[in-house]
Amino acid sequence: MKVTIKDLTKRFPGRTRKDPETIAVNDFDFEIPSGELVGLLGPSGCGKSTTLLMICGLLKPTEGRILFDEEDVTDVPPEERGVGLVFQNYALYPHMTVEQNIMFPLGNLRGKDKLSKEEMKSRALEAAKLVQIDALMDRRPKELSGGQQQRVAIARALVKMPRVLLMDEPLSNLDARLRLQTRVEIRRIQRETGITTIFVTHDQEEAMSISDTIVVMEAGVVQQIGRPQDVYDDPHNLFVAKFLGTPPINVFEGRLQDGKILIGDAEVFDVQDLAPDPAVDFFRTQAGSKEKASADAAGPIYRPGGVKTGPGRLAKEAGNIPVWVGIRPEGFYMDDNGPLTCTLKGVEVMGRDVTVVSTHPAFQGETIRTIIDAKSGVDPSKGEVRYRLRQGKVFVFDQSSGERLYGA
């Protein structure tokens, strides 16, 4: 089932007449290919859950359309959309057994779809086997662990064979170890059933690890859509760059001067070594979006609100532009003659590699964390450490708009 979201907007009225209305989701435009696992990713309050509830039908969009394949479901009530929803707190009925919980959606079927008790039982067992919970059919939710409850919730959503499976923060109620296990499990179930699945999360690692496509949202606006690796390697703005990756990207205050990137007075990189932002092609791709859709095997590239910067503008203002310089932790390597000198604070040994903790006056934040190969041998007794930067790990962002100017 292909899911198409067109210009989706949700506004909540203010509490009083004077209060401004809240724009939870602003002009969301996206097409989810059939059978994909899509992660809606963003900090809390970014509109990702609102989007999910609108796709599910529990919330009505203010504007825009939602299509399942070619069918417009915007005004179709949730029960007729054929969606399965897994709630964040699972919402398992506490007074029913696992089997009764899984069977509950089947009991709602009427008319020609009505199932006999045996059929319901066998369907429930089938769903339970898929999530490997079939040994616990007589338990009540209270008698299950968090991970088991999660599986029951997924089985209940799957038992009526939904066209689209929706999951609201599916892993947030699980402990760290179970989370790893369950996300692999969700991936497997999604692959086995082939159901188009959309899930919401604020955990970038979770979204990156299992999604075919991630949608990064902030303040109701989609920031970027793409394959997880592409979004990581090619963030379109400072927000996306900061949101993805652990440890997070290191952001320095810098300048663009005569084609060079400066942090403090150090010339850390030559702009020529950096590819311009691909979104510079944005206007062209917008015009010919059809060819783009077929040609772009790497997944859709999306930018909200158009691009205000480009090489043309930069060339004109090449004099001295204040910028944010974002460097991934793995984008540093040690070089005694490297241009970037940082004050060494400590070294954390991770085994395969080490995390070097340092500071720099132009750094935005507490400490710079860089991941260095364990063999490069950092001397913690030295007061400073010098870095050279890796191509493809340095991004330059406009200070006012946060849009990316150069990088990757």
Binding site: C56, G57, L58, E79, Y93, P94, K142, K160
Partner: protein, 296 residues
């Protein structure tokens, strides 16, 4: 540990003394009275011990009448008041506009004095030389017969009493049920909605089981309250309930102690012990039933 225990008992002492003086001692006393034959208040003497008092009241037509009235009242009012409260509470939680106003209106009888409510019921039901009462006027309007609800046939009096009791116990039940309904996680309803559950199935399979602990609490306290029915009968039929054939068990106990025929603490105690036994039995049955239907 030992020291802590001593302290704990010390802190419990004030409450313990009060309980002992005002609850435990009288309870024991009541039990003793009930088995002492021919106890005399003035001389504080009795002729002996035995089950004579119980034997007497069980053959007393007034007591049997009181038991019958009480049982009938319990059997009618508890299911009806609980069911109606559930319906109204469910309605209240489904509407949005004016909910607060309705809640207040439904709660009014709870804060109104029983005797004041009795006066309202008199206006509704009592026949006087000047008017037949509002209900009779309504009956006349539909060409119905004129019925004396206060001094007339037994069924009419019982009906008025039951309506009265239902009316007076409902506010509390509605209040408790409304808050129970409000505490059901909205996600259960959302989950049911996504699955296309019809509203009656949501009510029977989700809402009712979720609030079942509250419902059983109300049923249990409802039974206890209805068995102790007395003041409402007085408000309607005056203090001579035996004359009106509308006496209740508590009314009988009161009469035996202080009524016209008063001065029989032994009979009163025996009746009180019997009432206690009845309430205990019903409550135990209720608890056993509720254990089978309440899962958390």
């Amino acid at each position: 540990m030992e020291d802590n225990n001593r302290k704990a008992w010390l802190y419990l002492l004030p409450a313990g003394i009060l309980l002992a003086v005002f609850m435990i001692y009288p309870l024991i006393d009541v039990f003793i009275y009930s088995v002492e034959e021919g106890y005399n208040f003035a001389s504080q003497t009795s002729k002996g011990t035995g089950l004579f008092n119980f034997n007497y009241i069980l053959h007393d037509p007034y007591f049997l009448q009181a038991v019958r009235n009480t049982a009938l009242c319990v059997a009618i009012t508890v299911p009806i008041s609980t069911g109606l409260s559930l319906l109204i509470a469910f309605g209240l939680s489904s509407i949005k506009p004016l909910r607060k106003l309705y809640q207040t209106i439904y709660f009014l009888p709870y804060v109104t004095n029983t005797l004041a409510v009795g006066l309202v019921f008199m206006i509704l039901f009592k026949k006087t030389p000047y008017t037949d009462g509002v209900v009779n006027l309504l009956l006349h309007f539909f060409h119905g017969p004129s019925i004396d609800f206060i001094d007339g046939p037994y069924w009419a009096k019982m009906m008025v009493l039951c309506i009265y009791v239902i009316w007076i116990v409902m506010p509390f039940k509605i209040l408790i049920l409304t808050s129970a309904l409000a505490s059901v996680d909205q996600n259960y309803y959302n989950a049911a909605k996504v699955d296309g559950t019809r509203s009656w199935r949501i009510f029977w399979r989700i809402t009712l089981p979720m609030i079942s602990p509250t419902v059983f609490y109300l049923i249990i306290t409802g039974f206890i309250g209805a068995f102790k029915e007395y003041s409402d009968a007085v408000a309607l039929f005056g203090t001579d309930l035996n004359e009106a054939k509308m006496n209740t068990i508590v009314g009988y106990i009161y009469d035996m102690l202080y009524g016209d025929a008063g001065g029989y603490p032994s009979y009163a105690s025996a009746a009180a012990i019997l009432l206690f036994a009845i309430i205990l039995t019903i409550t135990v049955i209720n608890l056993l039933v509720s254990r089978r239907h309440v899962h958390y």
